[in-house]
């Protein structure tokens, strides 16, 4: 069977859903961030897949590289935030960090 665009999109959708599932259900902040990375990578697969089959050509690769750079920056900032959360609360469970509660 020829591997085509659909396969990549399905993989990407699965990856996206797994990531989203991780973001919603995990308590540990690091785990949530890892879910986020999965979602970003799902988007990357889409970019590359469209670059390969959808006629986007090199723009898809460039966009994917931008996403990777963005993910790196995001990880740096987010981990700093997690460290600060830890310093303030002595834990990093996102469901217990609810000081913005109305």
């Amino acid at each position: 069977m020829e591997i085509g665009l659909t396969h990549y999109l399905v993989i990407s959708a699965i990856l996206f859903s797994l990531g989203l599932y991780g973001i919603i259900t995990r308590k540990h902040a690091i785990m949530v961030l890892m879910g986020l990375e999965l979602v970003l990578n799902a988007a990357n697969i889409n970019f590359i897949a469209f670059a390969r089959y959808g006629g986007m050509n090199i723009e898809g690769h460039i966009a994917a590289i931008f996403v990777i750079i963005l993910a790196a920056a995001e990880a740096a900032i987010a981990l700093a935030i997690v460290l600060n959360i830890y310093q303030n609360f002595r834990h990093v469970n996102v469901d217990e960090v609810d000081n913005l509660k109305g």
Partner: protein
């Protein structure tokens, strides 16, 4: 085995140690003590495969320069990235060197690391290292080379800092990593210059591009620059001056690690890299390489003279021998440089494992006597170990002879070849180049001296402490690797003739590659001589003679027929062979005699010598003050810059910010009065209303980010429902 099988098997050899890494890193805690057995068994299989592949390549396809493949990894726009793996003769030999030493070190560590609480992790790291090192060996392009180059860097970092509870160990790891990064930066720039010019990472494409006359930025100097940049990577990994400072500190790692990584394989990667891309170095780049190698060999030999730490002496000796290899490649002695890499790998691994054996025994004795303060690595605490540890002593003595360059050992063959090469080089180029053989011979003499100083002080004479008296010979897994490695240092493995290796299989198999650099930028004596004019067209031969005549580095008559020699350099090396052999024997012999006179028979008092040459002694003992120099220049410079930046931040930037805040506050105060009485009245009304709404809606705001995500998801689903 057919030619088609060589590459898949090489790939398998590469991946098997990775399996060891994966098993030990994920299941290590469950395996516990068994992880050592697992690692050793896996490496044993790997060793078998490596021997099979290497023998196939050398015996059946020795004439084929390189068996390799190339495939497109990915493409960016129209730029295709081609990579692949390849086995040439030096890679085949390196496969055996890496897997055999790795296997023996795995075996050795089953006893040496016994009882360590991160025992499985140690085996995992060893597997990772072996994998990365084999990757360097079978890479046939700069990209893979660089990737695995960094991987050995990280595994070296992990293993140096293996006992990271010790401050000195974690600092040594950091120092090794950062120093290597400086070299790797140069390596990266070099690769980028070549990639930008030739559009490929493959060695063969780059060489083909160079020999077709295309120069980086259309400037031949840039080819030299690219060569030196690539060589910078080798300077970092192979601990060449001025980046040599990390290697002695790396001895903080466990001793088997020092034997595997910091004596035999990883530090040789730099030499291997220079050998792999030898064809692209111009005459100027080669001169630079030779000078750096010579300086390294000489400086570190002088430092090794006075060190009292068992492993530090060996570490500086390693740096010195690496300097010899680099120097040999730099002067054009390709075969002898690589030959020394291989022979040195065996006997230096043996020396380090023997050091491990001694330290292990010392530790046990100290443990037995409830002594936790004495330094088990200080040679002044040893003495007389010959009686208590006979097998360690015998193997140590034999490989010491090999390192000193005494006949019947492999070290004699390779070192002799290197020294003859430096003399041939100096004779062909003349002038200041004679400094290179002079320093090389001096360093060779010092090598013999400091190695015998170490042997005599640690093993001969009376026991200097109670601990030394209580040492015992270690178990078989420690002694066996020593014996095997010492056995491998016999001359017979490389050449039937114990004083001349040039007829042996090694010199037949490892032939200097044809230089890709155009004749005008290469030493004339390194150019491969064309065969007799009768075979080739005469017109062509005449043309090439003309090109050579224009060569600015020309020192000998071009077109000289050399019979069976590859080029003029090899012929000259052969002429100097016996002179170099006599000189090196004389110098090594007097070094050994001096060591015996001072330390064994005490004819000359070591203390008197020390006070007499106080300045030289302190200078050598303090390692030429390189650490202090870097501390006061590079590190202090960085600190000054960051301090001044912090001052700028605190006073200038913060001052501006504070000023603007004062202005804003004053303005705000005025506005505030207006605000309080006029606007607030109106706003309060609205606020009360909003507050009322808010108090009803606030229940939605749980503050939990994950519930917000669910709301967003629901919202998107609803929108999708309506619009699609």
């Amino acid at each position: 085995m057919t030619q088609d099988l060589v590459l898949p098997l090489s790939l398998l050899i590469l991946l098997i140690p990775l399996l060891s890494f994966l098993i030990n890193i994920f299941f290590g805690n469950k395996l516990g003590r068994i992880s050592g057995v697992v690692g050793t068994t896996i490496l044993g299989i790997d060793l078998g495969l490596a021997i099979a592949v290497a023998f196939t390549k050398l015996s059946s396809f020795g004439e084929i320069h390189v068996i390799q493949n190339r495939f497109e990894w990915f493409s960016l726009g129209s730029q295709k990235i081609i990579v692949g793996i390849g086995i040439d003769n030096i890679a085949a030999i390196m496969l055996i060197v890496v897997t055999l030493i790795s296997f023996l070190v795995h075996l050795f560590s089953t006893v040496y690391m016994e009882g360590d609480r991160r025992y499985p992790k140690f085996y995992a790291y060893l597997g990772l290292f072996t994998f990365s090192m084999l990757g360097i060996v079978i890479a046939n392009n700069f990209l893979f080379m660089y990737v695995f180059w960094e991987l050995v860097g990280i595994s070296s970092y992990l293993l140096i800092g293996f006992w990271y509870e010790k401050n000195s160990a974690s600092n040594a790891g950091k120092k090794a990593f950062i120093t290597n990064r400086i070299g790797d930066l140069g390596f990266f720039i070099g690769i980028m210059i070549l990639f930008f010019t030739y559009g490929s990472f493959m060695f063969e494409d780059v060489f083909a591009g160079i020999s077709s006359g295309v120069m980086p930025f259309s400037n031949p100097t840039m080819l030299t620059v690219a060569g030196i940049c690539i060589f910078m990577g080798a300077m970092g990994k192979s601990a060449q001056f001025p980046l040599h400072v990390w290697l002695p500190d790396a001895m903080e790692g466990p001793t088997p690690v020092s034997a595997l990584i910091h004596a035999a394989t990883m530090v040789a990667a730099g030499v291997y890299l220079v050998a792999k891309v030898f064809a692209m170095f111009t005459a100027d780049a080669l001169t630079f390489i030779a000078v750096i190698g010579t300086i390294t060999a000489f400086i570190s030999a002088t430092i090794a003279l006075t060190q009292v730490d068992f492993k530090k002496v060996l570490a500086y000796s390693t740096v010195s021998q690496l300097g010899f290899m680099i120097m040999s490649l730099g002067v054009g002695g390709y075969t002898n440089g690589f030959f020394h890499l291989v022979t040195h790998a065996w006997f230096k691994a043996a020396l380090f494992l023997a050091a491990g054996s001694v330290i292990h025994a010392m530790h046990h004795a100290m443990h037995h006597m409830h002594d936790h303060h004495t330094d088990p690595q200080d040679i002044n605490n040893m003495g007389g170990l010959r009686k208590t540890m006979p097998w360690t002593y015998r193997t140590f003595l034999f490989v010491t002879l090999a390192l000193s360059g005494i006949p019947l050992t492999s070290g004699f063959l390779s070192k002799d070849g290197i020294l003859a090469g430096t003399m041939a080089y100096a004779n062909l180029t003349g002038g200041w180049h004679w400094i290179i053989p002079i320093l090389a011979f001096t360093a060779a003499g010092m090598t013999a001296f400091y190695m015998f100083r170490l042997t005599i002080v640690a093993f001969h004479g009376e026991h200097k402490t109670e601990i030394a008296k209580h040492t015992k010979e270690n178990k078989l897994p420690i002694v066996l690797p020593l014996v095997i490695l010492a056995f491998m240092s016999l001359w017979i493995f490389y050449s039937p003739n114990p004083i001349d290796a040039s007829k042996g299989w090694f010199h037949r198999m490892i032939v200097q590659p044809k230089s890709a650099v155009p004749a005008a930028y290469q030493w004339s004596f390194l150019l491969t001589e064309e065969a007799a004019p009768a075979v080739h067209q005469t017109g062509e031969a005449a043309g090439s003679t003309e090109v050579k005549a224009e060569n600015p580095h020309e020192v000998t008559a071009a077109g000289h027929t050399t019979g069976h020699y590859l080029n003029k350099f090899q012929e000259e090396t052969h002429h100097f062979h016996y002179l170099a052999m006599l000189l090196s024997l004389l110098i090594a012999g007097s070094g050994i005699a001096l060591a015996f006179a001072i330390y064994q028979y005490k004819v000359i008092s070591a203390d008197k010598l020390e006070t007499r040459f106080k300045f030289l002694h302190t200078f050598s003992l303090n390692k030429w003050y390189f650490d202090e120099l870097y501390q006061s220049t590079v590190i202090a410079g960085t600190l000054v810059v960051s301090k001044s930046l912090s001052w700028f931040d605190n006073y200038v930037v913060d001052g501006l910010v504070n000023l603007s805040s004062y202005v804003t506050r004053g303005f705000g105060y005025v506005v505030g009065i207006f605000d309080n009485y006029v606007i607030d009245g109106a706003v309060n009304l609205a606020a009360n209303f909003t507050g009322f709404c808010g108090s009803k809606l606030r229940k939605l705001q749980t503050g939990q980010i994950q519930s917000y995500v669910v709301f967003v998801l629901l919202g998107i689903l609803i929108l999708l429902y309506f619009f699609i």
